[in-house]
Amino acid sequence: MEAWSRFLDTFFNWIIIERYFPAIMKGVVVTIEIAGAVVVTGTLLGLMLAIARTFRMLPVNALIVIFVDVFRALPPLVLVLLVYFGLPNIGINLPSFAVLWLVLSLVLTAFAEEIFWAGILSIPKGQWEAARSTGLGFLATLAFIVLPQAIRLTVPPLTNRTIAITKNTALGTVIGVGEILNQATTAQSFSGNATPLMMGAIAYVILFIPVVVLGRLLETRFAWRRV
C-alpha cells in the first residue's frame, strides 16, 4: 500500500497536475499549430513536386529525386540541428519553431512526393490515352482523370507517414520549441517529480490515438493491397 501511494505521488501527483496543467496545454497548442502547418506545407509541396515530375524534364526530375532521397535518408534530428545551429553563422536567423516547421515540412514533402508519384505511376496508361483521345489536354487529364484516382490510392500510406512525421514535433524540444515534451521536461525539472512527464505522454496519446485509429480505418477502407 505504501509503495502504491508513493507511485501515485511520483507519477500522478494531483497538486503537480493542477500546477502544470496550463503549461502542458500551452505545449499542446504549439504542437497542434506546428503539426498542422507541417501537414499542409508538406503534402502540398509534395503534390506539386510529383506533378512537376510528370512533365518528365530530365534535369528537374533528377533534382527532385536527389532532394527526395536525401530527405528520406537523413534523420530529421540531424537536419534540425544543422539548420538551427548552422544558419545563424551565415547570417540567417530563424526562430526555433520556424526551423522545426521548415525541416519537418521538407521531410514530409520528400515522403509525400514519393507516395504521390507512386500513385500517379500506378494509374494504367490506358487511362491517359483514353482521356487524351476524348480531347482533354495533358493538364486536364492529369487534374480530372489521373490525380483523383491516384490520390485515392495514396491516402493510407500518406496518412501513416504524416502521423509519423508530425510526431517528430517532439524533436523541437532539443532546440527549445515550447511544445508538449519541452513543457513537460521543464516542469519535471522544476518540480522534481515525474508527473509532468506522465502528463506529456498522456497528452500525446490523447492527440494521436484518434489519428492512429483513423489511419487503421482508412487502411481497410481504401485497401491498397499489394498481393
Binding site: A73, L77, A164, A201, R226
Partner: protein, 221 residues
C-alpha cells in the same frame, strides 16, 4: 559563398572531428545491432498475438500497438530515461534506448508482419495443416516465408526508419554519431562536424533508400 564553405564544409575541422565521429558511428552501429533484432522479434510476437483466435489477446495486441504508435519515440525515451529514476530504477542510456526502441519498433514491425500474414491466403494454412504440419510449423515454414516476401519493401523501409531514429539517443547523452558530431560542433562553433555526420548517414542509408524505391515500384507493377 565563402562563409557557407567555411561554416558547413570546413575540411580542417572535419578532419579534427573525424576520430570522435567515427567512435560515434561505432556506437550507432552497436545500437542498431541491438535494437533491430529486438524489434523484429517483438514485432513478430505482436503480429501473432494480433491474429490470435483469443479475443483478449487480439485486443491487448491492438491496444498496445496503437498506444506505442501514438507516442513519439523521443517522448517514450525521455519518459523511460528521466521518469524511471523516480521509481527507483536507473537505466543506463543504452538500456533506456533499448527499452524505448523495443516498445516503439515492435509495434511498427508488428503491423507490417500482420499485413504480410494476412496477405497469405487461407488455402495455404489449410493445405499445410492437411499435410500434417502443426500450427506453429505452418506459420514458420509455409506462411511466414511468403508473408515476409510480400512485405519486404515495408520491412526494409521501417528498418531505415529505425536506423535514422537511433539519432534521438543523442538526447539522453548516448555518444552515438549525432551526439559526437554535436559535441564537436559545440567545441568548434562550426557546423561542419554535423555535415560530416549527415554525410555518413547518407552513405549508409542512400543505397537502401534507392533499393526501397525500386522494390516498391516492382511490387506495385
Amino acid at each position: 559563398m565563402e562563409a557557407i564553405i567555411q561554416q558547413f564544409f570546413n575540411l580542417a575541422i572535419m578532419e579534427r572531428a573525424l576520430p570522435l565521429i567515427l567512435s560515434g558511428l561505432r556506437e550507432t552501429i552497436l545500437i542498431c545491432v541491438l535494437v533491430i533484432p529486438l524489434g523484429l522479434a517483438g514485432g513478430l510476437a505482436c503480429a501473432i498475438m494480433s491474429l490470435s483466435r483469443l479475443r483478449v489477446a487480439r485486443w491487448v495486441a491492438v491496444a498496445g500497438i496503437d498506444f506505442f504508435r501514438a507516442i513519439p519515440p523521443l517522448v517514450l525515451l525521455i519518459f523511460i530515461y528521466a521518469g524511471l529514476p523516480f521509481a527507483g530504477l536507473r537505466p543506463s542510456p543504452m538500456t533506456a534506448v533499448a527499452i524505448a526502441f523495443f516498445l516503439n519498433t515492435s509495434s511498427y514491425y508488428g503491423e507490417i508482419y500482420r499485413a504480410g500474414i494476412e496477405s497469405v491466403g487461407q488455402g495455404q494454412w489449410d493445405a499445410a495443416r492437411s499435410t500434417g504440419l502443426k500450427g506453429y510449423q505452418t506459420l514458420a515454414y509455409v506462411v511466414l516465408p511468403q508473408a515476409v516476401r510480400n512485405v519486404l519493401p515495408d520491412l526494409v523501409s521501417n528498418t531505415v526508419e529505425v536506423v535514422k531514429l537511433t539519432s534521438i539517443a543523442s538526447v539522453v547523452a548516448l555518444p552515438e554519431l549525432l551526439y559526437s558530431a554535436d559535441m564537436a560542433r559545440s567545441v568548434t562553433f562550426n557546423s561542419s562536424p554535423i555535415v560530416l555526420a549527415a554525410a555518413i548517414y547518407l552513405v549508409m542509408l542512400w543505397p537502401v533508400v534507392r533499393l526501397i524505391s525500386r522494390l516498391e515500384r516492382r511490387v506495385a507493377a
